[in-house]
Assembly symmetry: C2
Homo-oligomer: 234 residues x 2
């Protein structure tokens, strides 16, 4: 691994599902609120609105941050689940759950080790304020928080991936994207970035494990962020 | 101080001169290169090109990051100092000195204390890559790096100050700008931000101490970032 470890300078991390456990965190908060819903199903429904909402923003060409999209989706999902009496303050608080997502058990240690050798940053569709609050709560030791908001383009738009290289004045091939989603990695690879897949079999909950089969096209395949650090001699 | 300490949520820091000692750092590197120049005078001449260069960018309306402006100014200053034989690689390295500026002795401790209570971020005209490398080298514990580059507007444009409040979804009055320059603070105040002046009498070197007299309009006046932390009960 020494060759790839020597070549890259920056590791950018996808966040939702890769560094933090959105499904578990959202489910737990929903459960604690005693809403008349199945918490895991509610979390899945909320998250299901994510990609279409971003696609619509990209199509319209007017920038809207993820906090706002999350809120629009939340209101619709509450309606779908027949919850129409949740007060505004509680909706607002619930919407902020995405700022309070808990890291996977290996995230902080893995990132800390990688930070000793590389510049580590987020590259998330979450907005900067969301990512900052999340990092502060969870102790994620970013050198820099980068977001789709920096580039006014949601992943998988190439400007987001290439924006990382431009920000740090390095070649795309000196940036590695680490993510638990092959589609994200594929888009990064098409921009010339190196890629590391992180296995997160329980991203959608223990009840529905997802395939974490390797794709050959990825530069590295890791069982965790600590495993990624090990593979990169950190 | 409890009232103001309770009101604010975010403290944004000016960087050059406020958190790091550009004059000492640039002078030392220039001296170590054995250029046939007086290092302190060279540092001052380089820095003197800063405001006009940014003003020109703002007037033209096409975004150019500070690394590029620093390089343009450097080439001109080298010419003014009759240095015409500095190789490209050394020019490039020297230009990066702004990524390697040393913090004032109180900066890391002061920021660390403030971070325990507030979201702390940079708000600098330096580009994101520059600020990230500086923070990594110097151990500046930012929750988030914000730059004029986030807003495509150099301070003192209002979008830069108001951009901090927007990023964190707080009111302008919940943001405090900390800076060693009254003009920066004045522009922030005009946008509704709270302001803390930080005394840096030797910003331009021991040879030319600057006035650090208080302006009544500032919310707080501090002798250092540690003193600011103390005043805010951190």
């Amino acid at each position: 691994m020494t060759e790839i470890a020597d070549k890259i300078r920056v590791i950018a991390f996808d966040i939702f599902g890769t560094v933090v456990d959105w499904h578990g965190s959202v489910s737990r908060e929903v459960a604690a609120m005693n809403l008349a819903v199945e918490p895991a199903a509610f979390a899945l429904a909320w998250r299901a609105g994510y990609k279409p909402a971003m696609a619509e923003v990209m199509q319209r060409g007017e920038w809207v941050i993820l906090d706002v999209l999350h809120r629009r989706i939340l209101d619709r999902v509450l309606e779908d689940f027949a919850i129409d009496d949740l007060p505004e303050a509680e909706r607002r608080h619930l919407n902020q759950v995405w700022h309070r997502l808990e890291p996977w058990p290996d995230s902080v240690e893995g990132l800390t080790r990688l930070k000793s050798r590389y510049t580590i940053c987020s590259l998330s569709n979450g907005n900067i304020g969301l990512l900052t609050e999340m990092a502060k709560r969870a102790g994620l030791p970013w050198d820099c928080i980068l977001s789709a908001e920096n580039f006014n383009k949601y992943k998988p738009h190439p400007d987001a991936y290439l924006g990382v290289a431009r920000t740090f004045a390095v070649e795309p091939g000196q940036v590695m994207l680490a993510a638990a989603h092959h589609s994200d990695l594929e888009a990064a690879r098409n921009c010339g970035l190196e890629t590391a897949y992180i296995e997160r079999p329980y991203e959608y909950g223990r009840g529905q494990p997802k395939s974490v089969a390797p794709w050959e096209a990825n530069t590295l395949h890791s069982t965790s962020i600590i495993d990624l650090a090990r593979q990169l001699d950190c």
